[in-house]
């Protein structure tokens, strides 16, 4: 009997896993004992970190897109389709295209994050973001025409993708405006929902003095409640109101609805064992990347490491051996601290992060990684 592995989501986690499995299970695939299907709702694979550079005119959205066909091993069946229902008892999926039901023996959910700006009244109209392709393009136009006034960067909720990216944006904006001789005329304010400038206390301690040094105003305990696009103000649940000329937000995030509908977890995040990545509520279901609720950051590096763990576990299960690979919380992040300097952090469940001193070399390492990413997605790096 052929065992069918179905991966939903062809972003970072899903693509790395598909390639990892194609490699690992080569004999079984050749013998027809295993079949792998990767389902994604877009024919392109999207590399989101490129969007950080789009508002500053340093990258084009197309730099972050490649056809899945070019990235994923030929032995994997790619299906461009949107999964609409998961039935973990019957082990099958419904989808938008075609009228067949997709049956699986092993399911991996790698559906990532979605943005839900509508949770905050006025946000969709008043705010800009670089967390979507269209958002990044619109923000580029706004940023280019900003010559004076107040730029507010507000982190509306956590968890969100790439916890370093809000810091990176204000550091880059500060440097970029200085280079253009506009910094004196543009005030920058950074808001964060808790009492620090970052969820991780070690990163917060490192970032706060840099903000002070660079005259970036900080509002902590700021949980956006509403935005008034007419008056150009953003108000927090804590009762603070800020005026803005350009509002950039990290909008609230959620997973995809079908996860909650399938009883796999709240808000579209799958409840998993944080070491094995197995879903708590169903058999033969794994989740990885942003969609797996492990408490570690929603980062591509996390999705990448987790794909390796799930790949090893699935290969063992398919071969009838006990699965022993586990995820230790490993996370790597480069943090841009300006237009030509960056820091770097590495941490896991046990070891806290210790940000490296910013340097030009680390900035170039981040840019080099962005180029080499396509090899990562292919499973070569």
């Amino acid at each position: 009997m052929t065992e069918h592995v179905v991966i939903v989501g062809g972003g970072t986690g899903g693509s790395v896993l598909a390639n990892d499995l194609a490699d690992r299970l080569e004999p079984e695939l050749d013998a027809g004992d295993v079949r792998i299907t990767l389902i994604n709702d877009d024919a392109d694979h999207v590399y989101k970190p490129v969007w950080l550079y789009v508002p500053f005119g340093q990258r084009e959205p197309d730099d972050g897109r490649r056809p899945l066909e070019d990235l994923v091993d030929d032995r994997v069946d790619i299906r461009i389709d949107r999964v609409t229902e998961i039935d973990t008892d019957a082990e099958r999926l419904e989808s938008m295209e075609g009228d067949d039901t997709i049956e699986y023996d092993h399911l991996v959910l790698a559906t990532g994050s979605t943005l839900v700006p509508e949770e905050i009244p006025g946000l969709a109209d008043g705010g800009h973001d670089y967390y979507s392709e269209s958002g990044a393009v619109d923000l580029r136009d706004e940023l280019l025409s900003l010559t004076e006034g107040r730029l507010v960067l507000s982190v509306v909720g956590t968890p969100h993708m790439c916890p370093a990216a809000p810091l990176e944006f204000v550091f880059m904006a500060d440097d970029w405006l200085r280079e253009r001789g506009l910094r004196e005329d543009v005030e920058i304010t950074y808001t964060y929902p808790i009492q620090r400038v970052h969820g991780n206390p070690h990163i917060a301690e490192w970032a706060r003095p840099i903000m002070e040094e660079r005259d970036i105003d900080v509002e902590t305990f700021f949980n956006a409640e509403s935005v008034d696009p007419e008056a150009e103000t953003i108000t927090s649940m804590e009762g603070t109101e800020l005026d803005y000329d350009l509002l950039v937000t990290i909008p609230p995030h959620a997973g995809v609805d079908l996860i909650e509908e399938a009883g796999l977890g709240d808000d579209g995040w799958v409840d998993v064992d944080k070491h094995t990545l197995e879903a708590e509520a169903a058999e033969n279901v794994y989740a990885l990347g942003d969609t797996a609720d492990t408490g570690v950051p929603n980062a591509g590096s996390v999705a990448h490491y987790q794909a390796g763990v799930v790949g090893q576990r699935l290969a063992s299960e398919i071969r009838g051996r006990p699965a022993t690979a586990t995820y230790d919380g490993k996370t790597l992040c480069f943090i841009e601290t300006g237009m030509d300097a960056a820091s770097f952090v590495e941490f896991d469940y046990e070891t806290p992060p210790a940000p490296a001193p910013p340097s030009e070399k680390l900035h170039w390492s981040k840019l080099a990684y962005n180029e080499a990413y396509w090899l990562t997605a292919r499973g070569l790096l």
Binding site: Q195, P201, F221, M237, E238
Partner: protein, 78 residues
């Protein structure tokens, strides 16, 4: 033991900081004025985070219960 009946309970046991506080903020966001949200957390940091935020936001921390392996915070939305 408090005899307060929460309108909603958020179980953030197992979540690392700032998860429990963010979960509480999310629940308060969607609660109505006067409703009580109960937060379950086993993160030590919550003992200072929750009172600090409740005060900042003008919500009232009505009770903190110490249980064997976690704390329960009762927060009333202003």
């Amino acid at each position: 033991m408090t005899d307060m009946e929460p309108d909603e309970t958020v179980d953030a046991r197992g979540a690392a900081c700032p998860g429990p506080l963010m979960d509480l903020i999310g629940a308060i966001r969607s609660a109505d004025s006067g409703e009580v949200v109960r937060l379950l957390s086993d993160n030590e940091q919550s003992l200072s985070d929750v009172p600090e935020w409740a005060e900042e936001a003008g919500n009232e921390l009505r009770a903190v219960e110490e249980l064997d392996d976690h704390h329960e915070f009762y927060v009333e939305k202003a």
